[in-house]
């Protein structure tokens, strides 16, 4: 079956290539991502626990090491399914996740991979803060529509973008119902000294699409994404669904029990996108939602108010 598929693809590519070969001209544009061999390791792998302590675990439990090849990047880490649980009852719009994420991804000013929305489900219900990373859907609309396979879904549940393949058609941005994607409208200002990998999304590339990537470059070595560790209130829980554990860096909880006991839900489940991000409803809040305005600059406060008035107009 595999061979059959491969030959079918080959055939199709051949046909397409023949059709447009005139357009292309010479030169293969296939820029392969630098291939580095995995370092040889023993049966045990050293890992860092969230408390900052080294521990040794079986290789079976550890994730892969070294710089993965492009094939490995597209495949992901076998046997994993990374999920995030966001506890809305703890969020007070501190925006530390936003700044930490922007810093580690060297985002251009004004770009945000995580956005914090002020939501109000209906007129009489209370407003709440709604941090929104990429949902890394199991049925991702963005991946379906990509004409070149630049954005892809891995076996471990992560949706990534290969910015060296992306042609910048922005179809994925139109297709994503959650506005998770941003476009690099101009040359990225910050140029970190790093070799590009879809796992790190750094450095950004002009004319291509970027988004929250769940930080696979850190979690291969067992480190939590920066938004999780940056949050002062422990709003974000991250983990592997197959291991049945999520952690916010302070406490580790059974995923199945957490989503069951706190009736977690996925945002806009009705769209059929099957997100990997779960929300715990904003009940028994740690903070009144007004706290979210405290540290904001004046203009942002105003903007949130304008937005709320706008929502009221639509009765949403």
């Amino acid at each position: 079956m595999k061979n059959k598929n491969a030959s079918r693809r080959k055939f199709l590519k051949l046909g397409l290539a023949a059709g447009a070969s005139a357009l292309i001209g010479g030169g293969s544009v296939l820029s392969a991502i630098s291939k580095v061999n995995k370092p040889a390791g023993g049966d045990k792998v050293k890992m860092l626990s969230p408390e900052g302590k080294l521990m040794e675990v079986d290789r079976g439990h550890a994730l892969c090491c070294g710089v993965p090849t492009s094939k490995e990047v597209r495949k992901g880490i076998p046997g994993r399914h990374f999920v995030m649980v966001i506890d809305l009852s703890k969020c007070r719009n501190a925006r530390k996740c936003v700044s930490a994420c922007s810093k580690m991804h060297f985002l251009q000013p004004g770009q945000e991979y995580i956005k914090v929305f002020l939501m109000q489900d209906s007129e009489d219900t209370s407003p709440y803060w709604f941090p929104k990373p990429c949902f890394h859907c199991d049925a991702p609309a963005c991946v379906n529509v990509c004409p070149v396979g630049a954005t892809f879904k891995r076996e471990d549940g992560v949706v990534l973008i290969d910015n060296e393949r992306c042609i910048g058609c922005k179809f994925c941005m139109a297709a994503c119902p959650y506005s998770s994607r941003v476009f690099n409208w101009k040359k990225p200002g910050l140029k970190p000294e790093a070799n590009y990998s879809p796992e790190s999304s750094v450095p950004q590339k002009i004319g291509t699409v970027g988004k929250c990537d769940f930080c696979p470059d850190s979690f291969v070595s067992g480190i939590l994404p920066d938004c999780v560790t940056a949050c002062p209130n422990g709003v974000y829980y991250f983990g592997d669904k197959n291991e049945d554990v999520v952690t916010n860096g302070v406490e580790a909880l059974r995923f199945s029990e957490l989503v069951k006991n706190k009736s977690a839900y996925r945002y806009m489940e009705e769209l059929g996108t099957r997100p990997s991000v779960y929300y715990l409803p904003p009940v028994d809040r740690s903070f009144p939602y007004e706290r979210g305005f405290e540290e904001l600059p004046e203009e942002m406060k105003k903007a949130y108010k304008v937005k709320r008035a706008h929502l009221k107009k639509f009765k949403i």
């Binding site: 059709g19 080294l54 914090v116 609309a141 941005m173 959650y178 197959n242 580790a252």
Partner: protein, 746 residues
């Protein structure tokens, strides 16, 4: 080829069209070229600075370019559907308009897709569409459909030109050196023999059958690019037929406008009579009514259903502060005005029909704008961005200039094309039997009375802003640093008897800690006042330096079973020095598993070695039990040592590996006396993890669903088989001509 006197006389009337260019024509051409050059400048600006120079931003990711793209592909329908259908139905009055219609198709199918290219962020990666193309993506469908459609349109146009080119080859109108060889080559030795004529007609009939479904498919695919997304205002089942109807409507409008222009420009009053305008006008109002019906149906259903996102789009359209007037123009005026003008005989004239077409075409352009922009301005999650350009789309001069350049290119290509071949098919017109009846009335009188359409020069609004652009220098980020505080923390780890020291080195800046990599940390064993160095270790990327405690030191017994260690970071460059120390004891901890009355339990035994090496149980100590997971240790139990032993229940519900193997870690943590002591055990009592299924994601997979591949191959091969057949027919015509020539010679 042999034609009658009438046709030759007719051909002569096209001499000025082919040969001379009036002064006004030159000026118009220069203006057009200038506008195109401005477009080139705008394009270069966009390539150099990136798409930041457009009005598009993260919410409204598509703007004028896509609007123009749909618009141009829409007007290409003039040729495909109008000429195709009229040809098939053998409508007698089609002859003079068929070439113009075909030209509109070819030219607009060339210009339309270039707008897609303008919208693409990385033009340099266009080959990726071929190298990595995924046929699940509607963009690939679109690329395939449009290239196939364009090829078909070019063949169609060419087939319709063969006879006229043969005529021009045999009766050269001009001395033009470049024209005649082209005519000779492209006329494929057409001699108008019975057999050749038959073959040509056959090919044309065949292609007009193929081109109709193809044209419908092209615009449907285009509509599906939007329809496939989960956006309000786009995710609609009637989008494909809606787009098709709107496209033919605008295509007919452009055809009437082109007819009007050429009629005046080249004095074709004898060929393009009021009847042509009337008939096309009637086709247009039928299409207009159909378009109005689709529009009504589309907005009625979404308003009545009133899903909140649909309502938000409708709110934008119906809000006088936003898109209401555009909506009124595109939906009411753009449909009702043409219908009123054309249905009421009093208003019906060549000029008024042309005016109605202009309104309809403009309305269709605005409608495309209203399809794209308000939907993108209403994402499912409310836009929380503060920057006005992210909330509301307004095109920049770059986009306006490139729009104007596209229109200019359209007109210019028409102009150039009309210098090459008569705009009216000459041979076929000569063949028409009862043509005089149509020619009887030339409505010059009426023309004077009616609305005069003055040609407005199309200066793009955006050009005004050209002077107002400011260049912002990129902000240079710099950070100054002076001496950075460091902190060192020394931990003792006793894992399965292997004892090690771990020093964590961190730098502190702006209240934040970060690990320091590749720094040397010195470890020392402190015995009384004496310090014995054990070694120097460089820190890892995480700022950790780990050293194993030599067995020699442990066996020395320390001072009453207590061992003191010290770690020092001497400081380097801007990093200041720091030290840390720890006292430890020699503890032995072991894990075992046992079953008691069906309950699975974990047992931990902890002993301490005294100075004499004698092991004694540790009394009264808290032991915590964990299961290591990727990002954390999951606490599964807690117990107190009683006589050196602590028991807890085994977490049987926790998933292990495929065999159910679970690793259990028992810990004494950060204890003042004992440091960190750890013991690990492994047993297959966990929940076995079921083998991973390969998840089929359908459209999201790398490989396309098979039915899609087969459909595409069947459709494409059907169409291309016909193209191939038609091309072979053209060669057959050539061979027949050659044969006839050789016969003449002998």
């Amino acid at each position: 080829m042999n034609v009658d006197e009438k046709t030759l006389r007719n051909l002569k009337t096209f001499k000025p069209q082919l040969e001379s260019v009036s002064k006004r024509g030159v000026i118009v051409a220069i203006v057009l070229v200038l506008v195109i050059l401005a477009g080139v400048y705008a394009l270069i600006t966009q390539i150099v600075k990136g798409h930041i120079v457009t009005g598009m931003r993260d919410n409204v990711v598509w703007g004028l370019y896509i609007v123009n793209f749909i618009f141009f592909i829409g007007i290409s329908y003039a040729g495909a559907l109008i000429s195709g259908i009229l040809h098939l139905l053998r409508v007698p009055w089609r002859t003079p308009i068929i070439r113009m219609a075909e030209m509109i198709t070819v030219i607009s199918t060339l210009i339309g897709p270039s707008y897609i290219l303008l919208c693409i962020g990385r033009l340099d990666r266009l080959p990726h569409l071929v190298l990595f193309g995924r046929i699940q993506s509607p963009i690939i469908w679109d690329a395939i459909a449009i290239s196939t459609y364009l090829s078909g349109s070019i063949i169609f146009l060419y087939l319709a030109m063969i006879r006229d080119m043969a005529l021009l080859r045999d009766n050269p109108l001009t001395k033009g050196k470049w024209r005649n060889p082209i005519y000779r080559f492209m006329a494929v030795k057409y001699k108008d023999t019975t057999k050749q004529k038959e073959l040509l007609n056959q090919a044309t009939d065949l292609l007009s059958i193929v081109i109709i479904p193809l044209a419908i498919l092209v615009h449907s695919v285009l509509a599906w690019i939007f329809g496939m997304t989960l956006r309000p205002g786009w995710h609609s089942t009637i989008f494909a037929p809606y787009f098709v109807v709107a496209a033919v409507y605008s295509g007919t409008g452009v055809l009437i406008m082109v007819m009007w222009v050429f009629r005046r420009l080249y004095h074709l009053e004898a060929h393009l009579t009021k009847i042509h305008f009337n008939y096309l006008g009637i086709i247009m109002i039928v299409l207009g009514a159909l378009y109005g019906y689709f529009t009504f149906s589309e907005y009625l259903t979404s308003w009545y259903g009133s899903i909140k996102w649909d309502m938000e789009v409708l709110f934008r359209l119906f809000n006088p502060g936003q898109y209401w007037w555009e909506f009124v123009f595109a939906v009411f005026i753009g449909v009702l005005l043409p219908i009123v003008i054309i249905t009421i005989p009093r208003f019906r004239s060549i000029n008024s029909i042309a005016f109605a077409s202009l309104i309809a075409v403009l309305a269709m352009w605005v409608k495309r704008y209203l399809i794209i922009i308000p939907t993108l301005e209403s994402p499912l999650l409310p836009i929380h961005d503060l920057r006005p350009e992210y909330v509301h789309y307004s095109p920049t001069w770059v986009e306006w200039t490139l729009t104007a350049a596209g229109i200019a290119l359209f007109i210019l290509l028409f102009f150039i094309f009309s210098k090459f071949i008569p705009i009216i098919p000459v041979v076929r017109t000569g063949e028409e039997k009862d043509y005089s009846r149509l020619r009887k009335k030339v409505f010059e009188k009426q023309m004077k009375q009616l609305i005069r359409l003055r040609k407005r020069s199309d200066i793009p609004i955006g050009m005004i802003f050209l002077l107002l652009i400011t260049f912002t220098a990129p902000a240079v980020m710099s950070q100054e640093t002076s001496g950075i505080k460091t902190s060192l923390h020394l931990d003792f780890f006793n894992k399965e008897g292997a004892k090690s020291l771990v020093a964590s080195l961190k730098g502190q800046e702006e209240g934040k800690y970060f690990p320091l990599e590749n720094m040397k940390v010195n470890f020392e064993f402190v015995s009384g006042n004496e310090k014995k160095p054990i070694g120097t270790i460089s820190t890892t990327a995480k700022g950790k330096a780990t050293i194993e405690i030599p067995k020699k030191i442990i066996s020395s017994g320390g001072s009453k079973g207590v061992f003191s260690f010290m770690a020092t970071f001497t400081g380097i460059d801007k990093y200041k020095s720091s030290t840390s120390s720890v006292e430890i004891r020699n503890v032995n901890m072991e894990l075992s598993f046992f079953q008691k009355e069906g309950e699975k339990e974990i047992s931990c035994k902890a002993m301490e070695a005294g100075q004499d090496g004698k092991m004694t149980p540790i009394p009264d100590m808290k032991i915590e039990f964990y299961v290591p997971r990727t990002f954390s240790l999951l606490k599964v139990g807690e117990g107190s040592l009683s006589d050196g032993v602590a028991n807890v229940e085994f977490p049987v519900t926790l998933p292990g590996d495929s065999a159910g193997n679970l690793t259990i870690v028992a810990k004494i943590e950060d204890n003042e006396t004992y440091g960190n002591v750890e013991a690990t055990g492994r047993i297959n009592w966990g929940k076995p993890l079921p083998p991973m299924k390969i998840v089929k994601r359908g459209l999201g997979d790398t490989d396309a669903p098979l039915w899609m591949v087969y459909t595409l191959i069947i459709l494409l091969s059907l169409v291309w088989f016909h193209y191939l057949y038609i091309i072979i027919t053209v060669f057959r015509i050539r061979w027949l001509g050659k044969y006839a020539e050789s016969k003449e010679v002998t």
